[in-house]
Point group: C2
Chain length 79, copies 2
């Protein structure tokens, strides 16, 4: 079973990477870019085949390692 | 209009970040993690309201700046 985890900085947390991308796009002539946020996506190949158990395990991975829950939010998607 | 871009290393390109995550998960006692790939997700707020034009612009942004198409693949999603 495959799981995809999206980790984004929470709203209100400064995102210098996203800001750099926004500036670069503006400098390259792309207009109308009002905001950019950059995050991580982590794709996991799991041996687990039960959806509920896989979701529980991946959520635990996020809480313990994949996301810094003080400043980041995460979303788990099973595919 | 919002656009979300997923940028992942192509298959066959070594992903040391993903490997590091896989090792760390193993060391923390999570079993059955067969592979981990880590990529980027970039969320763009666009002034553009036309879906076709927005998709075309974002694809151009990916080709020129957001992805290194030699080693990375990207996927554009309008939300």
């Amino acid at each position: 079973m495959k799981a995809r985890v999206h980790v984004m900085l929470k709203n209100g947390v400064l995102d210098p990477q996203g800001e750099a991308v926004r500036h670069a796009l503006g400098a390259m002539g792309f207009e109308g870019v009002e905001g950019v946020r950059q995050g991580k996506v982590i794709e996991l190949d799991l041996a687990e085949t039960d959806t509920a158990r896989a979701e529980k395990t991946v959520t635990e991975m996020c809480e313990k390692l994949l996301a810094n829950t003080v400043i980041e939010s995460y979303r788990v998607e099973l595919v």
